[in-house]
Symmetry: C2
Subunit: 887 residues, 2 copies
């Protein structure tokens, strides 16, 4: 028989999968002899079982819970539901991976009408007892019974107003009793029955509620964004309550062993006196910094500093801890490896190596590559920043620079993003887990309330999104959608503001940005990563500017230059259109001749920017209709410009219409129909390479034929390329090497890769299209049903973001194998957007590819991910336990 419930002293930190992160660490701390309130953990397997059993808790698990409850009662010497000596507990979720704020917590469970009286007597603190009870009723009603929270808050506000109380702490015991009375009345009105008085029923319902919360929509979204499998489930921790709200000698707080924003080695955190934990996180009262605890409770502070040191040394990583002081006595409620900004992650990793706490390889494993984004993106231009007026200042909750139009609800921000808005800033009084999607689409988050550990701050740091929190200098009116800055100026939806997440400054205008410097800890860690990795990292770049940026980021070549992007410029599109509407090959060649010098100079620019690194140039790919207007009005305008009749041009546009453009006349199919296009592009590539090589470079261009599905297709186009290239080279009287290869993006190409490798000198896996074709859905259309798929847990990941290793991956592995069989020295790479996704990079490493190619800003991410993949697979092959750090 499985064991579904563990006392804290039965577990340890290695049992994370079974006990969840929180439960495992509570057990570990218990084992370390630290002051942890007693309790037990209901395992993640119980959660899985709960779902398998049709959302019920099996009798055997229920029995085991009661058994462990009774053991715990004995240990603490208190009894559940006993007014004389009541045992009160918290019920908290705790999954394998941290999902802050995603799931539910209930405090003070075990209280009822008679226990509250007993508690008041026992503590001699009626105010405390009823404060706890009203909190419990609200939390339990909201989380377990689904009575809406604002209805309770309304009552609280009413009573505060009736009694002229500013803060909750201003309310007296009588006020709180009145609240309890009204809360219970509200509950009965809403639910039709009395608030449950039996603590065992309260407990079992609370556990079920936590299990249920694993599958609430915001948790599902969070898991998708953070790559957490849905079948992990959550554990539930039931733990003796300790009280931070027992008066001014009590309090609660959260702290980090190092600064999670900067990485600085200094205890960092905040606490609130006379409060329960949720008050700190919810950001209703603004908490005080940790240092001030030295004065308030020097004894507890010293003990805490000591414990923090023990924990950091024990876990060999920066710790994020929750604690409560009950009447001067310190209790640890949680510890975990702390979430941190990218800058902090880099500094901490490098510092821990310097402190001899970890190895370089361990340091590499500690930084989540996805986080690097934050240190790579631009900061504000300093000049502009100096000239700009600060309209308010808040807490620097998550670094970075954001500029965008303001929105006052997460939904509106999400909507705006869907409509194509690229830059937006979400402005909220405070954020809640419901806001998660809106936060995700925003470049910056500004809140009026809450501290550095408020929901907004924690989530924004995790996302690498810039955040200014607790900015009380602005007055936000969410309902009427405006805010007033410190000077009295009003900002409405759509106005531009800028946020500096590193200073907390808010600017009432759009500010220009500059590139970040790639130095210090970043450069140290990346150097270590480069030493560790075997996979090369290239970039997808279509312009010399992109290419230069990518080289700065460490790109070792261009894996994909999409030549068509060069044709959309105003000065080229008309020659391109002339080519498309040509009725004869002669006309087409005439138009192509106009494009030739432009293409050639594009390529010269790219080759020069890449300084001799390999450059893969993909030939024209999109269907031709993409270059023509589709609306009658625009067709009319263009027809005039091109000196043809409206009807004629309209006819051409119609004839190019496709039912499924994704599966239409594009890629190498264009070159089969119009070989003269491939001829022109070959000429441009080869002439450009010859020209730059004359200036001392040694470019070996790689020509890539897109959308090949059959060896004969590739051969047809390759023959044109080779013939043209050799003519140009011969005429130039210099020697030049070049390669011809193909993209593997059609399933048939992967399936027949042994054939195709006979002609292709390299394969570049175009995993965007390969994913589309392999799944049989188009990226443009899948959005409509993928939401249903996520909601119904059919899919958990967007296969366009994370490479589908089971299906698409099987094709990639097959093609790599077949390709190498036919041509052992074939060069293999990937150039889909997956090239910058860490788990996909790991797959590419395992599949034995030579390189990944991704957008310039993802190059460092890919470098780090490649290093982690190399270390992991070395560890695995050595049987070592290569921890993937926070991943």
């Amino acid at each position: 028989m499985s064991k579904y419930v563990y006392l804290f002293n039965e577990g340890n930190a290695k049992m994370k999968n079974l006990l969840g992160g929180k439960g495992a660490n509570l057990a570990e701390m218990t084992g370390l002899g630290l002051p942890v309130p007693k309790g037990f953990t209901v395992t993640t397997e119980a959660c899985t079982r709960y779902y398998n059993d049709g959302k019920t808790i099996a009798k055997e698990i229920e029995d085991e819970i009661y058994e462990m409850l009774s053991k715990t009662e004995k240990i603490v010497g208190k009894n559940f539901g006993d007014p004389q000596n009541p045992f009160l507990v918290s019920v908290r979720s705790g999954a394998r991976a941290s999902m802050p704020g995603m799931m539910d917590t209930i405090l003070n469970l075990g209280l009822n009408d008679s226990v509250v009286e007993g508690l008041a007597k026992l503590t001699n603190n009626e105010r405390f007892a009823f404060d706890s009870y009203r909190r419990f009723i609200q939390m339990f009603s909201d989380v377990v019974m689904e009575v809406e929270k604002p209805k309770f808050e309304k009552i609280l506000d009413d009573i505060k107003e009736e009694n002229n109380a500013k803060y909750d702490t201003d309310l007296c015991a009588e006020n709180l009793k009145e609240i309890v009375k009204r809360y219970k009345a509200l509950f009965k009105k809403e639910k039709g029955f009395d608030f449950p008085q039996d603590p065992k029923i309260q407990l079992m319902e609370a556990i079920k509620a936590v299990f249920r919360s694993w599958d609430n929509p915001r948790a599902i979204v969070y898991r998708r964004l953070n790559d957490i499998p849905g079948d992990w489930g959550t554990a539930v921790n039931v733990q003796e309550m300790v009280y931070g709200n027992m008066g001014n000698d009590s309090g609660t707080g959260v702290a980090f062993t190092r600064n999670p924003s900067t990485g600085e080695k200094k205890l960092y955190g905040e606490f609130l006196m006379n409060a329960q934990g949720e008050d700190v996180v919810a950001g209703i009262r603004t908490p005080k910094p940790m240092e001030s605890m030295k004065e308030v409770n020097p004894e507890a502070y010293d003990q805490f500093v000591k414990i923090a040191g023990i924990l950091e040394n024990h876990y060999r990583d920066m710790q994020d801890m929750e604690f409560t002081i009950e009447k001067g006595r310190l209790f640890m409620l949680q510890t975990r490896n702390g979430k941190r900004t990218a800058a902090a992650a880099l500094k901490i990793a490098v510092d821990l190596v310097a402190e001899n706490m970890i190895s370089k390889e361990e340091a590499i494993m500690k930084v989540d590559p996805r986080q690097l984004d934050a240190v790579l993106h631009p900061n504000f231009d300093l000049k502009a920043l100096k000239a700009a007026a600060v309209i308010a200042k808040g807490l620097p909750a998550s670094p970075g620079a954001a500029t965008g139009k303001i929105y006052f609800t997460a939904d509106e921000a999400t909507e705006a993003a869907k409509k194509g808005e690229k830059k937006l800033v979400l402005v909220r009084l405070e954020t809640s887990p419901e806001d998660i999607e809106g936060m995700h689409v925003s470049q910056g988050i500004l809140t009026g309330r809450g501290g550095m550990t408020s929901h907004a701050a924690v989530v924004a740091r995790g996302m690498g999104t810039c955040c200014v929190a607790g900015c009380s200098e602005i007055k936000i009116n969410e309902e009427e959608k405006y805010f007033i800055d410190k000077n009295g100026k009003k900002y409405i939806e759509g106005d531009w503001i800028s946020l500096d997440g590193s200073t907390g400054n808010v600017y009432g205008e759009q500010l220009p940005t500059v590139e970040p410097e790639m130095t210090g800890d970043f450069s140290t860690l990346m150097k270590w990563a480069d030493e560790a990795r075997t996979l090369k990292v290239r970039t997808n770049a279509d312009t010399p500017a992109d290419a230069e940026q990518a080289v700065k980021f460490g790109a070792e070549g261009i894996g994909l230059c999409r030549t068509e992007h060069m044709f959309f410029n105003a000065d080229r599109i008309s020659a391109m259109r002339e080519m498309i509407v040509a009725r004869t090959e002669e006309q087409r060649r005439k138009a192509l001749n106009k494009l030739l010098p432009m293409q050639r100079s594009d390529f010269e620019g790219l080759f020069t920017a890449m300084k001799g690194h390999p450059v893969t140039i993909r030939f024209l790919d999109p269907p031709l209709h993409e270059f023509l207007p589709q609306e009658d009005e625009d067709i009319a305008a263009l027809s005039k410009e091109m000196g043809m009749s409206f009807e004629e041009l309209k006819g051409i546009v119609s004839s190019l219409h496709e039912f499924n453009p994704m599966m239409g006349h594009r890629g190498c199919r264009l070159a089969v129909s119009y070989p003269e296009i491939a001829e022109m592009q070959t000429r441009a590539v080869i002439e450009a390479a010859i020209n730059v090589n004359k200036n001392g470079m040694s470019v070996i261009p790689e020509i890539m034929i897109p959308l090949v599905g059959d060896i004969k297709e590739l051969k047809f186009v390759k023959d044109i390329v080779v013939k043209t290239a050799n003519e140009v080279i011969e005429k130039s009287c210099v020697s030049l090497q070049y390669k011809v290869g193909t993209m593997i993006e059609i399933p048939r190409a992967a399936l027949t890769a042994d054939e195709i490798a006979k002609e292709a000198e390299f394969f570049s896996f175009g995993t965007n299209d390969l994913t589309q074709m392999t799944f049989g859905f188009s990226r443009d259309d899948a959005g409509k049903f993928l939401e249903d798929y996520y909601a119904k847990k059919v899919y958990e990941n967007d296969p366009f973001a994370k490479l589908d290793q089971t299906g698409v991956g099987r094709l990639v592995e097959m093609a790599a194998k077949l390709g190498r069989q036919a041509r052992p020295d074939i060069k293999l790479g990937i150039c889909g957007e997956h090239g910058g996704d860490p788990s996909s990079v790991e797959f590419c490493h395992k599949a034995g590819l030579n390189y990944v190619s991704c957008s310039p800003f993802r190059v460092p991410i890919a470098r780090l991910a490649a290093a982690q993949a190399a270390i992991s697979s070395k560890d695995q092959s050595q049987g070592g336990a290569g921890s993937a750090g926070q991943r």
Copy 2:
């Protein structure tokens, strides 16, 4: 060193691949001691080499040709270019497979200004010599030098008119000399140089022309239609001329050992006296039936009958022979297994078994399954036929009944077909190889000239298309596009006529048709086929009528019922639309409840029609927008009907728009979004099965979930199906078995078939979509570039017609293997249109599938193809040489 040229006495019939069909059979006849003019064959490998060498004949091959020429000169005792004793030859193409009229022939080669004089003297027949010369000049100029034929015909017509000659035979020697003079002048004017006088140059140019003709556009089209690989190449036969145009004791003809239309065992053919071969085939003069040869030349006739018998016995098949009588002496110019109508093929196969000439298995191999179409399609309704007036009568050149709108050029017929015209009849004076595509799209062909072996007749029989040839009772004006019937009535483009290919009758109206009887030779051969095959044959049918038709054709179940076809009926589409525009699940269920009884009764009908055979029902597949109108006008009308505003409905239509509908919200994706649709369909299937089983049937319905790409998708929908089905069954208090399976039509499903087989009780390969996704092109759009692909020989086949065994086939084999590994008793079938394509059926047999499913009319084709596949693979495994007959 390869041998590129073979004397006829060096080869035999087994060397078909090397010598081509004609060359191999000339060699075989030579070996049999039959009277064959001497000569040699330049091999197909020489042709391939010609193309590989950039369309030149290598020196070594040229030398070998001259060597063999000189050997042949010695054998015949004549010399090339020697006026005293001239050696004249024919140069004919001859590929591995017969491609009638597709490639070029040159007769009388070796003539020049002095040889013609010598020939006149030698034969004492000046008329003959110059007739031969003028034919040669024209043919050589046309075929080798590309001077347009009509320019020569104009001269011939002028001379005929100038001399009041009706037929060529009415012209005297002087006339012919004048023609030669004008021909040569024309040649010089057109080409700028004199007509080549050196016979060796003539020969080498002629051989090159034959090689070139392998790649002319009509040959490419013919190969594609007939599944002949482009790399086979053609051989060239150089053979001593014998003359049917040496006067009235000479002649030429073609004959079959049995009647190629009916299969009757009786010598069948026609001949022309004083003519060369081309005159018979071209249909300029109407030839006489073979019997009349008995009177004209009884000796030659007797000899021919004897040779025909020898050849049929030798080849054990009906022979198609060409012969020439030169001054009373018989020469055999060709023999081959004769093309025949489907009816004839069946009769001959069955008769040959009865005559103990072949075994049943050989008989099965002798019938081309693709031909069966002709005996399966309807004939005219007899009553209507009796009432209809015959407007003209021609030769019954290819059986069947055709009714359609008339077109006067192949191009216009092709155009009309592209625009969606389904029924058309091509009316031509005579057809030529250029007309091949127009003939292919036509249901019937009517020609004003030419006999039973004219181009139109031969090609139509091969295609299984109804043809009435040589219908001189109508006067056709091709230029002005009309014809006049025997009563003087005029018919213009677009008028309806009907053709009876078995009687030669033409009717000036649209006639109704009736189903064919499946008896006699057909039923005998099909019985043999059923005994031989292991693969089951099912049908794709959506209606009871289709299902009944298919059962008559021998279907053993329904492999695919597309439920959506049932929703397009006028009485259902409105409930369907109500379902689509529903805003809530409740509204959707209400609309689905209206559809339920209709679906149930559809399924009852299908189950009843199939009499207990298995029925696979595919759930709703197409994207929902297909059920809604797209044009504003229609949307407005529907919005009124549905009682909603135009804007609202337009909004719904827009929201359903997809960029790539093929890869959009369809298939099981609909059931994931709207499980209530799958619920309704399950209920309809299960209730229908219960109802018919109550009436004594024992249906085991098979529910097929379409477009699955991931096991979780299938599981999600299957769970709904199983839950609903079990509820219905439980409520009904009877027991019912059913299966749930999936279509494998997404590459990912094939790649993860081991996973998917855990939930799927059967796989049906949907090779239409699987081909689209695997190739990455949509059927609707590929037409635009596939023409270019054929023209440039990148593709030779339409992968939607013939299963791509290399790519798509690899997926099918992989999925079959993985599926069987995971579930050994999994049922595997194919339901794409490939299910009725013989080569694809063979593939399915080899891949070990359990059944193929195809449209009702293709069921017999699939049965026969399955039998052939079983026999072939048995022969192969036994090392036997299972000849594929005419295939």
